[in-house]
Amino acid sequence: MLWYIFKRLLASIGTLLVVLAITFFLMNAVPGSPFLTEKSTPEQIALANAKYGLDKPLIVQFKNYLVTYAKGDLGVSLKMQEGTPVTDILFHQGKFQLSIRLGLIALCVAIVIGIPLGCVAAYNRGTWIDGFLRVLTTIGVAIPTFVLATLLLVTFAVNHNFLPTISGSLDSFKAYVMPIISLSFYYTCYLAKLTRTSMLDAINQDYIRTAKAKGVKTRSIVIKHALRNSLIPVITYIGPVIAGIITGSFVVESTFSIPGLGKYFVQSVLCRDYTVIMATTFILSALVIFMNLVVDIAYKIVDPRITLSSRED
């Protein structure tokens, strides 16, 4: 087990390095410099390049990034808030915490609502409840996040003033409602669909019949026997859910004016603030990769039949 975790950790670091390398070389593949504006003279640009080490060969620059990251330093913003350390921007200004809070709550909502919904649908298979949930979840996975977010915004904030238009830094309960709904809706529906199918698979197994024959209550059959075994495909999907929720937060953050990591990343890409792009990519991909690792380990704990060393299909 430990050996497996160690190996996966190594692989994760490898992936992270690849992502960083791709990002770095892509960024630098474009001619020009982040300091290029209409007014700046070549001397000014050269000076600024020298100041931030952009005049060095690419390999050296890349190595410098890795070295500073290893020290826990994320560099200094080149453009957006010139001279401010990126760690200050991301952590002390609360961008990171904001996005994480939003993402984690949305993830919890998706899991806490989606999985039981799937169970309810499977449990009531063929009835109107199942039909209703099927329609709801099918539509739910076809509505893009930004459409849902805007519709919510218009309905509840603009037309009726129930909820604030600008969620800002999420300091009241009301501010959470719409971002969380729009961020988690798709995944709630997806998890519900997934749970339903795998529950139905599980319900047809022999051990369920045995449990029924023994006279176990239906409720405890569902919870104890069926759900446990049907959770495995659901768990494999949690990894992509996390990545998706982080991605989805780009849209949600810009729709509800939340000054989080996603919005900041999009801005930094648009204005070519190299260090911020690298730092945000680093944090976001580290997060996604780490969560994937956690999911893989959870996978093992839920289903001891799976041997971790060979993850062959």
Binding site: T23, V269, L284
Partner: protein, 456 residues
């Protein structure tokens, strides 16, 4: 034991006894002639794989409805623009910010006059009336001469010129002020129609009646319905092209990996795993920005039709294709590899191998055709995901470039005026949802009918 067997064997009997015992004579052992052969042929028509799948698909009502809806959406996107007399880039002046089914006052005047007379007649060059005509929106031919005018100019000069029905030989001028709401008038003067108009006017169509702006118009006076149609067209095209890219790369990569096995397979699958864990949206966003300038240069320098088409869509869309080519094929590759691993142990692959078929031929002729069901399903389900990604990027302002529209960019544009004109968001959003929904359902139906083992 052997003896008894020999005794009852029919081949040991002499012909006369054979006839006695089984009612057969010697002729029964002749070769069959053609008519006899024909009677042995299986009479039931053999059902092909696709016919069988289609039969199963037809039974699935939900998927059939979804397919029907998707066809309607595709017609809306691809045929619709031919029926609507507007263009996605046309900016109609004085027709901005109209609601659904509305048309501007200017168009209203045209319409009310349209009801009353057969066509608009006008000239630009009558001294003292309308000068400096830019281009004619309306024209008529009379005795080999073309007369044209723009309605805008006419309005500015408070003059509308036309001939009432039945008075074709006379061209008259009426002042706007003299036309009442119903389009009636009494005060007019006859126009001398001898001057010629420039050739440019001839190209323009006579608009005989006003086509309402079914979805309204945007802030720049562009017809929203046509833009939505073009948006849907762009979105569907992007989805299909991206899915094809994924199909080609994924199936080739997956089948090579599966067939080769061993170290090659191991390495190739580690690469897949690595790509799988890259947060793709980060890469897409960076690619968008990075590829913008190089692609623009390529568009400007290349004369080929391909480059032209791509430049109409904009560099953002090309980056989406590149992203799909780089990152999104991994799921497809995994699925194909799984299939190939099963298939390559089949006898026909061994047989092909024994006959000396090359690996390339085995993949092309034996492996890929046999996982066609999986390929179709995965490709079909890839389309909505590409449409989602494009609309997401357009929403962030990085998808198609203006004036081209996609459903995502339309939604994004609508956001700025969402509280005043919510319908501008609703139309493209609903169509986007319908397309994605129907494709998802069709994909589910395909899975059930092409690969019944997967049915859930």
């Amino acid at each position: 034991m052997k003896e008894t067997f020999a005794k009852i064997s029919p081949f040991q009997l002499d012909p006369s006894k054979l006839e006695e015992a089984f009612g057969l004579d010697e002729s029964s052992f002749d070769k069959a002639n053609d008519t006899e052969k024909e009677s042995m042929v299986e009479m039931r028509k053999s059902v092909s794989y696709w016919a069988d799948a289609w039969r199963r698909f037809k039974k699935n009502h939900v998927s059939m409805v979804a397919l029907f809806v998707f066809i309607i959406a595709a017609l809306f996107a691809f045929v619709g623009p031919l029926l609507v007399p507007y263009d996605y880039a046309d900016q109609l002046r004085n027709a901005q910010k109209l609601g659904p089914m509305e048309y501007s006052k200017q168009e209203e005047v045209v319409r009310s006059i349209d009801d009353k007379c057969s066509s608009f007649y006008a000239t630009a060059l009558r001294p003292g009336s309308i000068t400096a005509l830019e281009k004619g929106e309306y024209y008529f031919k009379k005795g080999g001469t073309v007369y044209a005018f723009t309605l805008e100019k006419a309005l500015e000069n408070a003059i509308v010129m036309y001939a009432p029905k039945g008075v074709d030989d006379k061209v008259i001028i009426v002042r706007m002020a003299d036309i009442d709401k119903e389009g009636n008038f009494s005060n007019y003067e006859v126009l001398n129609t001898t001057t010629e108009y420039s050739a440019e006017a001839i190209k323009l169509k006579l608009r005989s009646s006003v086509f309402p702006h079914v979805f309204g118009t945007d802030s720049q006076g562009r017809d929203s319905m046509v833009r939505t149609m073009f948006g849907a067209r762009v979105s569907i095209l992007i989805g299909i092209i991206a899915a094809l890219i994924v199909l080609i790369i994924g199936s080739i990569y997956g089948s090579i990996s599966g067939l080769a096995g061993g170290v090659v397979d191991f390495v190739m699958m580690r690469i897949v795993e690595l790509i799988y864990s890259i947060p793709e949206v980060l890469v897409v966003l960076i690619l968008q920005v990075v590829l913008k300038d190089p692609l623009q240069k390529w568009f400007d320098s290349s004369q080929s039709a391909f480059a032209q088409g791509m430049s109409d869509l904009g560099s953002g869309v090309v980056s989406i294709f590149i992203t799909f080519a780089l990152l999104y094929w991994v799921t497809m590759a995994r699925i194909v590899r799984g299939q190939v691993l099963q298939l390559k142990k089949q006898e026909y692959v061994t047989a092909a191998n024994a006959l000396g078929a090359s690996n390339r031929r085995i993949i092309k002729r034996h492996l890929l055709p046999n996982c066609v069901g999986q390929l179709v399903i995965t490709t079909c389900l890839q389309i909505p995901s590409a449409i989602f990604l494009e609309s997401f990027l357009s929403f962030l302002g990085m998808g198609v470039s203006a004036p081209m529209a996609s459903l995502g960019s339309l939604c994004s544009d609508a956001l700025q005026t969402i509280s005043l004109f919510p319908y501008r968001l609703i139309f493209p959003a609903v169509i986007l949802t319908i397309i994605v929904l129907s494709l998802n359902l069709v994909g589910d139906g395909l899975r059930d009918s092409l690969d019944p083992r997967l049915k859930k």
